[in-house]
Symmetry: D2
Subunit: 335 residues, 4 copies
């Protein structure tokens, strides 16, 4: 349930305000150099730095390597990486147990786990866990780059409908509200033939992983939803040469679930941060009645800002697995 | 690779112009009544009947039960269902091997399987295999209905951008081209708490299965891509009562990857049929050059017309698995 | 539940007296030549031919290829093989439903599946299903031989404690009883390094598959149970050269769960056929009392006689999967 | 590869002389009380205490809970438990890299992982990792006891062929050598119907998990290898009543892969500790020649002494998974 992948397989664990969050990565080729420095840029990208619209909570997210790395290289055994949780003020949450926050998993978690869930800050459902995904993404991207020359790049396309991101964020600030956005991911360097027929198509696998990221509401490949309004003669990509190069790339680099040698392109919709400064209403379980609800503390105005690096991470995790299945990644680095 | 599900698990096989296509369904509760009649309506829906825009090829798709059914009921052992392929004219395809059809998997299949793939009519990549999914969907929907009162309903929202479907199809006919569409799926009757955290969220699992259907280019849940342009206070659904009923349903019935007791709603984009009557161009592998390409034979103008029943099928397959995981479906019918 | 393998994956189905038994094989490399003739020797070995001690029921077990083979070669898509059930006299079994046969799965199947199981001749629990395993074994052994030069060979070591098999069988005939035996399997040609740490060790994977064969009661690798009485200096195999060749082979070719370049050797215990000519006693569910019980019809005196080819089959299935994981089997034959 | 289980799923990681060893347990029902005290007895049993024949290295194995436990109870999210490695003298191992120890995984690990493996003390292949299994076993046994009244009990049957264990150990001490043993496991309280047909039979699943424990060379259920010398009328267990109670229990409580309501009984062969005080010979990779080899430091004379608690652990892990599949363990404690 908290694992993903067939050969290259990750297992995620942890809670927002618990001891730690972390991930175990099974199937990494032996001999891949991995140091703390490899992780810093992506971890900082996820934190948002001083970027407008992200929360200033200092998480000091430094990876702690617990297994699978020896003399600065992967050993072939599972790599386990922990992140400790610091500066968490759990008392904020304890008072509010009876009042499930709108848009958050509080209500469903209580129902599913009988009230035993760690409810503090969203617990296991918290976006905090994406720090572990980002760490696994660093390893995955390094594998893809080293063995296949594959690059995965996420970027924000629009915030609140605005391609000018500053403008989109300003809309949210002016409205004293949170806001959504659209993030794109592009993958270059994939050979023809990655992906499996039917249930392990590239789209199936990427969608599976991407839709597990909190706050993602949809995904589309290539022309995506626009394809639904196109004629076949418009949408089909004419194959130009024996490398599979096509004149256009409406398919987003995937045909029949298999990569066709062109750039893989997809986009995701990110909902507005559930914790908005605006007053809302929600159920009070104690009274059984709805009541006004205000978010305490400071939260991201736009969670989409943090999504590109997480999207890169899960995409790289998926592709590392598929490329291993396709025997494009060797078991041992340097061979 | 051609299997899906954890406890309720399907394995699909077959080729468009081979001996047969079929599916094996493992994990069906024992004692579920299943007869030929249960399958006819959905199989006919998939064929499109005499509907404008679907191909008139008479497939006479009758399910042949090979295992797992005894005295008209499931036994608890795997249920295997075959469909024979008839009226296939394979010679049409043999002549054209060197010319991969645009939009089809011909090119990638040859690259991936070294030319050993059954290339006739798309082989294992053909939409023909959805007949097996529809059969598994019949079993899955019957399980959901019997044990959980859950109903899964797919319907076409628009064809070529037109909510009036006749109009959309006429556009394609006038243009002598194929056309895409959007299909919606709604699920009623799900309890709170279905789905697993992270990689087995309801969205992850449904997206995985849905994106394996040929011709699907994207999926969105609840407000989907529109959420990317909303404020948090607009998008959040206020919880009204202890059943989890919300005032609005922008989340599409899923929060934190878990069902919240409201209707589950999602939509998919279906690309235009790759086989269009319009002349196109594609590579000729023999010459290494592009050349004009015309589709032989009769094909669907709009593959979206057949999608609702297939979408219901894969959704029901996913939900049967998740409800078993959640212990909402017993091992034995009648207990 | 009825599937096995990670990359090279089989799904078994069928019942003893139902329509058919069969298997779907996912992950076979494309381009492997496969014809009816490849299957005949092993299918005949399983039937026991005119061998003393096996039942003379004529099954005419000819494989029917339903998918995945085209122009005499594997396509890369799932290979589905059916065997029809003929000459089954089901009425024999219907009368006796209330009386679960001792040693058979009748009692547990009824409890587990609520009486909905196909009870005729053991249904899904019947040794009849091993015909499907043998077919998958033919494919697996051909893969191992073609790509890796690996040979898997099962043979009977003793029947009823007698290395002279005729003598062992005669003991059973004289006693008018059924009898057990021990079967050995030897695998040559495996490179060093096959198998995964911990849960996918070669012993774990082989044991998993082997213990799913009906009538197997135990398995031991190398010196096996005798190792429990040895000193370390006796048991350890001294490594002689950089190929991993050891002076002795007490480890049975596997150290730390990984092949060490020597012959892989293991043995299994096969219980006596549950259907014995001797009168026994069992429960009558109708009366709730025990009563005398006699087996109707003709049955194998010694099921161990049929086991070597089945043991080869499951071993080859396991090794094909592990060698693919280890990237020793390419995706495409001829590459 | 380092994971096991379908619904109740463990992922193991760590190395003997690395930072830590640990395990993540996914699928534990929410609300199960778990405290440090629950773990102490089994961890001490594994360490062997002051028992003759086990190594006196003080490991101070205290579990560190990293996730999934809140207010002293399981939350339903993955439970991660770490054990730090202390008092490790790695320099002992660095000098000897060129000389693979006989009976250990040193040689195969280097071949498989290209020399990148953590070679210190067996690294990821070390028996040290069983401490993590024991921790997962504590959780699993508590689940089985709480929900099903199931008890799992391992015990030593013989050491070096001697049922009198003191005598067996004295033989080893006298011979200045290590020695093997046989360990039995008995499970009481299982209902009829646990286990799945074919590849998830109880024997398949238990064997899979048990054979992943280092030093196990074989497994047998019920009468096991002795069954190979029995007549059918001797071996068959007569069913006495509708609870499935049988007169004898030669089947070891499992028929057709499914529990039959009687005690589940199986035995394993444990090889002598590979690190023996006796001088041996092995390859020197540097010279390519064999040379005399002596073990440095203190090691267990008889690893079988530590096996009972590890055997209980993996058996309980397997049964927790199978009982969840069978819906005998609820998702939430207290419901």
């Amino acid at each position: 349930m908290n694992s993903f992948g067939r050969i290259f397989r990750i297992s995620i664990f942890g809670e927002s305000h618990g001891e730690s969050v972390g991930i175990s990565i099974d199937g990494c080729p032996a001999g891949l150099p991995l140091t703390m420095e490899d992780f810093l840029v992506d971890l900082e990208r996820r934190r948002g730095g001083n970027q407008k619209g992200t929360t200033p909570r200092k998480e000091d997210d430094l990876p702690i390597f617990k297994s699978g790395i020896f003399n600065g290289k992967s050993t072939g055994a599972p790599i386990t990486i922990l992140f400790e949780n610091k500066n968490t003020r759990s008392t904020d949450y304890e008072k509010q147990r009876a009042v499930p926050r709108p848009g958050h998993a509080d209500f469903v978690a209580t129902e599913k786990f009988g009230g035993h869930e760690d409810y503090r800050g969203g617990g296991h459902f918290s976006g905090r866990l994406t720090v572990a995904l980002v760490a696994a993404g660093v390893v995955s991207k390094k594998i893809l780059r080293s063995f296949n020359g594959v690059e995965v790049k996420g970027s924000i396309l629009e915030i609140g409908g605005e391609p000018d991101l500053e403008k989109g964020l300003q809309r949210a600030i002016d409205a004293k509200d949170s806001i959504g956005g659209i993030v794109e991911c592009r993958v270059t360097g994939l050979p023809v033939g990655v992906g499996e027929p039917f249930f392990d198509s590239v789209e199936s696998q990427i969608s599976h992983a991407v839709l597990s990221i909190p706050a993602i509401r949809g995904i589309e490949f290539g022309t995506g939803f626009a394809a639904a309004r196109m004629f076949g003669s418009e949408h089909n990509d004419a194959i130009e040469n024996t490398d599979g190069k096509t004149k256009t790339n409406h398919a987003g680099g995937i045909v029949g679930g298999i990569t066709n040698g062109n750039e893989v392109v997809f986009r995701v919709a990110v909902k507005p941060t559930s914790s908005t400064p605006k007053e809302q209403e929600t159920l009070n379980r104690a009274t059984g009645l709805m009541e006004p609800f205000s978010v305490k503390g400071r939260h991201d105005l736009c969670i989409a800002l943090r999504v590109p690096v997480v999207l890169e991470a899960v995409t790289a995790i998926v592709l590392a697995d598929l490329l291993m299945l396709e025997q494009r990644i060797p078991r041992i680095a340097g061979r």
